[in-house]
Each structure stands twice: as C-alpha cells, then as structure tokens.
Symmetry: C2
Subunit: 420 residues, 2 copies
C-alpha cells in the first residue's frame, strides 16, 4: 500500500489547517472523483479499465510475447509522455525480459549514433509511439530506424519488426495498414503525460518482462481508494491540498527526494506530470528531484540552509526486496568506519534517510510517500496516485491540468526554421 | 574559446545597467582575481598550476599508464566534489581508455550490488578519494571493494590495485603507508567542489583516456583571461553580475539547458558548485538542469508559461566534432516528415535549440555560453570559467562561496543513529 506521512511537515502545514482546507474544498475532490465533463477528452486515465482492461492486458501480453520471440532488443521511439512511464518501471524494477533501448527522445546526432551502435549484434523490433505523428523527435528517429531495419532485414522482414502506437484514424495508422506494420491504438482521450497505464507504456513494460497485470492491479486498487475516500481520508487530495497551501505561502520549488537511485526515471515522469500540468498562466510549483544520498552532497546545503522556497517529498520504500541487502563485513585495516561492522547497507541507507528527513524538517516542510515494497503493484499505485493528485492539485491552483499551450511557441519557430 | 552571449537576456538585464553594475563592483572582481586572504585555505584552484603543474601532469599520466597496464576497469570511490568532475568529462567526451565505474556515491545496497556485478570478468583497480576520510559513502564503499579485491586477488596483489587520494598527513595516508597502497595527495587548500582541475579528477580522467594536458591547457588559458580582464570585458564576472541582478529582481531558479545530453553529468557538477557555494543564510539561486530536446517535453511548458522565477543558461557547442553528424535519408513511405529529407541531425538539433532560445527569451532571461568545440580544452575552460564565476557570484551575493555549514545537521543525526 501507499501512505502519505505528513508528520514531518506539520510544523509548516498544521494538521487542523490542512483538514479545514480540505473540508472547504470537498467539492473539488468530488468533481475529480467523478471526472468533469469539461475535461472529457482528457480523462480516459481516470477509470483504469478504460485503457487497461483485462482484454487489453491479454492482447498486450500476447503481442509482447510475440515480440520477444523475434527480438532481444526493443527500441522505444517516444518522448515525454511516450517514454517516461515505461522507462520509470524498467529502471525501478530491472525486469529480465528484452532489453529496452530509448530513441525518439533526442535530436542529437551523437546520441542517435550511440543508439545505432547499441543495436549491433542484437535482434531488433522497434515501436514508434506518436499520438499525432508530428512531433519531431519520434518522427525523425522512426525514419532513421525504419531505414536501418530495411537495410538490415529487407523490406518485408523489417515490416514484421515494426510496431506503431498511434491514434486510431491517424496517418500513422494509415501507414501501418499500407506497410503491414503492427498497429497499437494510442488512448484517444488521454494526454501524453497521463498515459502510464495504457498500451503506450504497458507494451514496452511487458516486452521488458514487467508483470503488467500486477502493475495494473495496483493502479485499480488505488483508483478504488482515491475515487471513494472523502476529503479528510484521501491521501492524494491531502497532498494536493498541502502543496497548494504551500504555494499560497510562497513556496515555489518541490524536491522529489529518494534514497534508491533507481527512482531516477520515475522522478522524470513526475517532473513532466507536474511541470506541464501546473506550469502555466504564470503559476505552478517548479518540480525538481534529488537522487540521494549522492545529491545530499550537492543540493543538501541549499535544501538545509538556502532560499526558503523549497519543500520536499520523499519516496520511501519500507521493506527490502531481492537485491536490497548487502552486509558490510569487518576489516583488518585501520580506518574510522568500525561502527559499520556487520551492518547491512539497507539499514545504513535508512539511517541516512531518516537523519536527512529529520534535519530537513527543521527547516522546510517534508512529506513522505511510503511504499510497502518496490514492485509492479506499487509502481502502478504510484502512477495512479500522482496522476489523481495532479488533477486535484491543478484544480486547486486554478489551471487546466490537461493542456500545454506553452510549448507551441518554440515549435512554430522550429518548424519555420526547418522549412516545414 | 568560450564566449558568453547575453543578447537573449538584454530585454531583462539591459546592457547599460549590467555595465554600470559591474563598474560599481570592480573592486569585487579585483579581489577575486587576486584571491582574498580570508579564503586562503580554499583558493588553491585559483592558480591552475598550483595543483596541475606540468610536473603533476607528468606524474599523473605515468600513474594512469601503470593502472591501465593492470586494469580495464577503474573504480572511482568518491562522492560530490570527488566524482562530479571526472564523470562530467568521461560522459562528455567518451574517451577510449579504461572503463570508469562509479562507487562511493551511494548507500543503496541495490546500487552497490550492481557495481559488484559490473566488475565480474574485468581487471580492476580502485581509487578511494576522501579528503577527510570520514564521509560515509566513500568510506563504506572502500571497505566493501577492498574486501572484494582481497578475496579475488589475495592481499598482496590487492594492495597493488588500490589507490587512495587523501590529504597528506591524514589517516588515509597512514593506511596507505601501512598497507602499501598507492597514495595520491588531495589538494589541501581546495574544497571538494572546486577540485576538477586537481589530481582528484585528473587521475580518473587520465585512466579513462582523456588528454589531461589539453584539458589543463584550456583551464590555464581561461585563468589568464579571467584574472586579468577588467570588469567590462570579463565574461565570468558579467555572468556573476547578471545572475545577482536577477536575484535582486526575484528570480530564484537557474536552469542550465543543453541540447547535447552528454552534458548531463557536467550539469550535476555545476549544480553542486552553485548549490553548495550560494545556498546558505537563507539565500541563493536554486540550480536545475534541462536535458534537451527531451526535457522540452517535460519542463518546457513551465519554462515558457509557468511561475516567473526562472532564468536560463544554455550551453551551446558551435562546431560539430567526430560523431556529431548523421544525415537523415529520404524514405519511400508516406509520413509528414518530408521536410527533413537529407538534413543532418546536427542541423536539426541546432534548429530546435535556436527556436527554443528565441521562444524562451520572450518570457525569461536567456544566457548562452558558447563553446567552439566539445573537447578536452573546452572542458578545462568550462571548469575554470564556472569556478571563477561562482567565487565572484558568491561575493556579490554576500555569502562565503567556500563553506557548506548546512550539511552538518543531518550528518550529526546520521552518525548518532549509526552509533559512531
């Protein structure tokens, strides 16, 4: 289960104030639980089963199995909402299926040359994920990699090794029909950053060996909880409320901190979710991440003692899993670390976390999102919990949590420069 | 050469205001150029030759050659100031010497188990970098990896495969003498985050195959420029001045943005430099990074349209190097990307950068640090330029740029919890 521990923030956001704030805004929660008509074209994620039903899971697992029978390497051609979800899970769980290679997320020739190098000697299938098939990074990488496959396998076999995930009725679907590529539907009524629990991400996860049924089960559990729990007992609404109270008090940066670096890519997913959903109309809390304990040695000084604009949200895994234990033996040489003799790094790392939180909580509000374990079920819970919290948070802030009008300006200039 | 392009910030920081600001504070620049007595124990980096003389470079290259004759894998056991510099250069230049593996920068058992996996089947030498040899991450990793070497090679051979970089006269030096480890001196009068141009980093770089003589030559060039150029012509002082003018106007976050993702680890070096140097006494600009073009699809919306607390500094490489070219061929399938036919990704990526800067500059101040090339010489220039700018910036902000008192609180709590 997921639990939001607010006790290390209560000196800054008093519990009674928070409860009043939530009670006064219970209508906002009720609207989010039901899903508002005005966002009907963006709320396909709110009911997990709409895009991750058992039938869809069966179909996705079958396709994943077919892909793995042909390939040890699966290239995910996607950017932002099309890769952050699956990359989060691959990095967090290190599943033992096919290797995922990330493309379509850069225009750097250096990086793309490196991607091509990584394919040598491997059996490859590619997946071009593009909702509207106009975004430059996936479009150009797809051209590059399609050509690579044709040169390597010939046109017919290449076609068997190409999957495209796009909107039904889009030019990308037409292309698939014409060329014989496998077509996977992109959830029509879900914006990119809310697609973690749709085929966009479930297919790469399944190919990588992730148990997507367990992941979706976690998300369904979380949906049941969050869409029924009233304001006072709704942890995602409490988080949304607390961060808006902090916004009102001048806090401008939220730091997502974690002591397992394998949350790195999850933090990128989280940054996109909140930056795009809330950073508009001259408003929004800037999302940043700290990969601890390493970044205690870079950002730690600022967090403890710098400008008072930060609050912190920790991700804390309560129980160790496979690979989370390593006992430090004694040593026969003289050093100053005898106090570590026989200790497990799991416990040393926990001591570093609890000390950090206690020290930081003296200076800034610290929330902790506690996960029982780091596994598929809890990754599914995390995705749903934050998506729901972000919807509610945007509503409390008074912005549209589902659009991103601010990215049009550079795109227009760029397309002009490229002669589109 | 490095050049600071301020033209995309001038709508927010008018050139005449900036020039006046600098002229009025010419004494601050003069003090930084000379080096202040009050910081004498921290200014060893100001004269590059003090810790990177030709004699030191010769010694470092000889040791690196010896290490490479024994090992294809060199484990750098260090954190923060002890690994960010060499990791920046390894990632940016991808040199073809020994593989570097990073340890001593985490307490996560999962990560450390992964490090141990990465050593299997390789010939290994380790380098424990610890100025005071009390920091938990390198101390515990050193114990773990020393034990690994002893079990694998036997005590005598293990000793030949251990390098320690520590302060002369420290317990770490005593340990080296007693056990027969190779000892490398840690620059005594340089704080961790300012050590990029000392043996702390030059040794790992040299082992990795970096031309450290070219890198130091670049730093020396930059030193000559910055320590002699008067206020009006000093680009590092202009940057320091402009960011403090923006601080005075309420800007609270600086985003270091770059379109070559191989600057990722350099951005971590930069974040540490500014977060630790300026984030104190309730002051300081929060440093964050955007790895473009990918993070245009996550942070871009916020940058363009969110809370007005951001300014942006771009790193721009002007000339392509080896590996920076990749031409996109035509295609025989119908897609909407015909306008890319025959274009080089180098140019497509540039179009994305220039469009982004133009769009962002309409909303927030944008500086560009232009590098002619991405090579050793320019990495050396970057390290010196930012270090000098950070010293001056801290002075303008009115903080001590060389201490980090704010990290003591969590350390005390952590050592208590661990029974130290």
């Amino acid at each position: 289960m997921l639990k939001l521990n607010r006790s290390f923030a209560s000196a800054f956001v008093a519990e009674d104030e928070l409860v009043s704030y939530m009670d006064e805004r219970a209508d906002v929660l009720a609207r989010c639980q039901a899903g508002e008509d005005r966002y009907a074209d963006s709320l396909g994620w709110l009911s997990v089963d709409e895009w991750a039903s058992d039938a869809i899971l069966d179909r996705t697992c079958a396709l994943a199995e077919q892909i793995r029978s042909m390939a040890d390497t699966f290239v995910v051609i996607g950017v932002g909402g099309s890769n952050n979800g699956s990359r989060s899970v691959q990095a967090a769980l290190a599943p033992e299926g096919a290797r995922l290679v990330w493309a379509g997320n850069t225009l750097s020739a250096w990086e793309l040359n490196r991607v091509l190098d990584e394919l040598e000697g491997h059996d490859v299938v590619i997946d071009c994920i593009a909702k509207n098939f106009e975004t430059l990074e996936p479009g150009s990488s797809f051209r590059l990699l399609r050509q690579y496959l044709v040169e390597r396998y010939g046109r017919e076999e290449a076609a068997r090794r190409i999957v495209c995930t796009g909107t039904i009725g889009s030019p990308l679907e037409d292309l698939c029909r014409a060329e014989g590529y496998t077509f996977v539907p992109f959830a029509t009524n879900v914006g990119g950053r809310y697609t973690a629990l749709t085929e966009v991400h479930l297919l790469p996860m399944a190919v990588a060996g992730v148990d997507i049924r367990a992941l979706v089960a976690g998300a369904r559990t979380m949906e049941r909880l969050l869409r029924t729990a009233p304001a006072g007992e709704n942890s995602a609404f409490a988080y949304a409320s607390a961060r808006n109270m902090l916004w009102d008090r001048g806090y401008r940066v939220e730091l997502l901190s974690f002591f397992e670096p394998r949350f790195r890519w999850f933090s990128k997913w989280w940054e996109q979710l909140f930056a795009e959903s809330e950073g508009k109309d001259g408003r929004g809390i800037f999302p940043a991440a700290a990969e601890c304990s390493e970044e205690l040695h870079s950002l730690g000084q600022f967090v403890q003692d710098g400008t008072h604009i930060l609050f912190e949200t920790f991700l804390d895994v309560l129980e160790p899993g496979a690979g989370d234990s390593l006992v430090l033996g004694g040593t026969d040489v003289a050093d100053a670390f005898g106090y570590l003799d026989g200790k497990d790094f799991w416990d040393i790392n926990k001591a570093s976390f609890t000390a950090t939180r206690e020290a930081h909580a003296g200076m800034l509000p610290c929330f902790t999102l506690e996960l029982d374990r780091l596994d598929e079920e809890h990754m599914g819970m995390l995705f749903y919990w934050f998506a729901f919290a972000c919807y509610a948070s945007g509503e409390l802030l008074g912005v549209n949590p589902f659009d991103q009008p601010g990215v049009e300006a550079y795109k227009r200039l760029m397309f002009d420069a490229l002669g589109k």
